[in-house]
């Protein structure tokens, strides 16, 4: 099976663009030169762009007007480039409110709002979800995840009930930095969740052994956080020349190569790099376009990154 394939909608968009239809459609006019690839959410088949937007650190700017303007600009560029999924958490300081400000200002037509519950106790969880929803200024969340498995056995039944009642579309769990993978596997195997969010990149590949195969087997979508090890990976590779294979898959930067490595894994639904830079969001979105590395090239990317980083 090929590592990834563009959806029919995007193939159609490409054909329209190629035939000059781009100029006629404001929606398509805002898209990047090549269409942003999508992947189906395994539990429903709904297509989701392979590049999302994280908000850890980058959107926690407090009341700083300049920081808020810059964050809105990043989200404007993200939506204009075809992005949909934005991920946040009550743990991220002012990030939820900053996202809410952008949602209010930009009114994105196809936002996929992904948030988390991060508190002990089910009653407090319900209150936290409602507080988060108000900060996001959305009628409902698309996805709610139990952050770092905190009180997951109390929160999951409530989130699943919300989904049954139509107050939520998807339910998931998260971890980061390779923590509690055994428990993640146990929940993936036993609970009817739609998404699992994990850390995965060219150096941190533990999840390839069990979690990613299990996600495919159980039809669970995979969201990948910390694709650049919170910037450490791109910093370590800065100044190192890109190997020859980069041009073959349309990469002009290490960040794009690192993202393509992640989203080309067949189990991965999307990666959520966080950034406060409009230029970086453009660069990240480009990683979700064009050709993707096959399995052999993925191995080579991992080897090269390990050697150079």
């Amino acid at each position: 099976m090929p590592p990834t394939s563009p959806s029919r909608r995007h193939l159609l968009a490409s054909m329209i663009a190629a035939s000059g239809g781009l100029a006629l459609s404001p929606l398509l006019a805002a898209a990047p030169p090549a269409p942003l690839l999508t992947r189906p959410i395994p539990s429903t088949g709904e297509q989701l762009p392979v590049i999302g937007l994280g908000s850890w650190i980058t959107f926690n700017v407090g009341r700083d007007p300049q920081g808020r303007r810059e964050s809105v600009d990043v989200m404007r560029q993200f939506f204009a480039g075809g992005g949909r999924l934005i991920d946040s958490s009550p743990m991220y300081g002012s990030a939820q409110d900053v996202i809410g400000e952008a949602v209010q200002a930009l009114k994105p037509a196809r936002l996929f709002a992904a948030d988390k519950v991060w508190v002990s106790g089910s009653a407090r969880g319900v209150a936290q979800v409602e507080a988060s929803r108000k900060l996001w200024r959305v009628p409902r969340f698309d996805l709610l995840q139990v952050h770092n498995l905190l009180s997951w056995d109390e929160h999951l039944p409530i989130l699943l009930a919300m989904k049954r009642e139509g107050r939520l579309r998807y339910v998931g769990i998260t971890t980061s930095e390779g923590r509690r993978h055994a428990e993640i596997e146990k929940i993936m195997a036993s609970q009817p969740i739609d998404f699992v969010q994990i850390s995965y990149n060219a150096l941190d590949r533990d999840v390839e052994q069990r979690i990613l195969p299990l996600a495919r087997e159980r039809k669970i979508g995979v969201i990948v956080n910390r694709p650049f090890r919170q910037g450490d990976l791109t910093q370590a590779l800065a100044g190192k020349p890109l190997p020859g294979w980069a041009a073959d898959i349309g990469c002009t930067t290490w960040a794009q190569a690192l993202l393509k490595f992640i989203v080309s894994h067949p189990a991965v639904t999307c990666a959520i790099p966080a950034t406060s830079s409009v230029a970086h969001v453009r660069e990240n979105l480009l990683a979700g376009t064009g050709s993707m590395p096959d399995e052999a090239l993925r191995k080579r990317i991992a080897q090269d990154v390990e050697r150079l980083a």
């Binding site: 980058t58 009341r63 300049q66 991220y92 980061s176 930095e177």
Partner: protein, 227 residues
């Protein structure tokens, strides 16, 4: 938090250095020209160490208590809490230290301790040199200067000088030294060049205090409270 031992320092850092220093910049802009008042307050504190007369020491004690109270409210609670969910706890700790400093001032004895160069150096650095670090930092500017009585780090640093000069008992050191570790760790995660400074000065002050405790106790004014 489950399996807390699996977390690293970076897991708790939830803001960028840019957001951090912009917060200080907007805080400075909002309260200017209170910095001039803070400078006078800092000079009083230095004066109390250099010329430890009783009325000056009492003034300095109250100035320090007011500074800790102000930082608790205006910085930790009103501003830092916007980007750091732990800031309300820091505010509570700063408020407690303000009360402790009031108590310490109240129990000051009549006997004046001999001026200590290390204590004077700490307070002098806090009041005059620490704000200049803003200019030494990459992309730093004077509007982001951290000033004694307004920002926590120089306030804590000057307090260490006073605690050393007054040979204050351990309980008065607990919160300032803890803050030095918290602030040092935060700046280290933010990759700020002078992250080591505050913990190093705290260590120096603690060592100086321990060494000083071996000298005759009749120099220790705080050990002779008013009866």
């Amino acid at each position: 938090m489950s399996e807390w031992w699996t977390y690293s320092l970076s897991d708790f850092l939830m803001f960028s250095s840019r957001s951090y220093y912009r917060l200080i910049e907007s805080y400075n802009a909002a309260i200017w020209p209170a910095h001039l008042l803070a400078l006078v307050a800092g000079i009083i504190v230095i004066g109390a160490i250099a010329r430890p007369r009783q009325h000056l020491r009492r003034s300095a004690g109250l100035v320090l208590a007011a500074a800790w109270g102000w930082v608790a409210w205006a910085y930790q609670l009103e501003r830092y809490a916007e980007i750091n969910t732990a800031a309300p706890y820091f505010a509570a700790a700063f408020a407690v230290q303000a009360l402790l400093l009031c108590w310490l001032t109240h129990r000051l004895g009549n006997a004046a301790p001999a001026p200590q160069p290390a204590a004077l150096g700490l307070a002098g650095l806090a009041v005059f040199a620490y704000p200049l670090l803003a200019l030494a930092r990459d992309n730093g500017e004077w509007r982001q200067a951290e000033v004694f009585g307004i920002a926590p780090d120089p306030t804590v640093m000057a307090t260490l000088g006073v605690l050393l000069a007054w040979r204050a008992p351990a309980i008065f050191w607990l919160i300032p030294v803890s803050w030095c570790l918290v602030s040092g760790a935060t700046l280290m995660e933010l990759k700020i060049g002078h992250a080591w400074l505050l913990p190093a000065l705290a260590l120096t002050a603690v060592l100086a205090r321990i060494m000083g405790s071996k000298t005759p106790r009749n120099l220790n004014s705080t050990a002779n409270p008013r009866s």
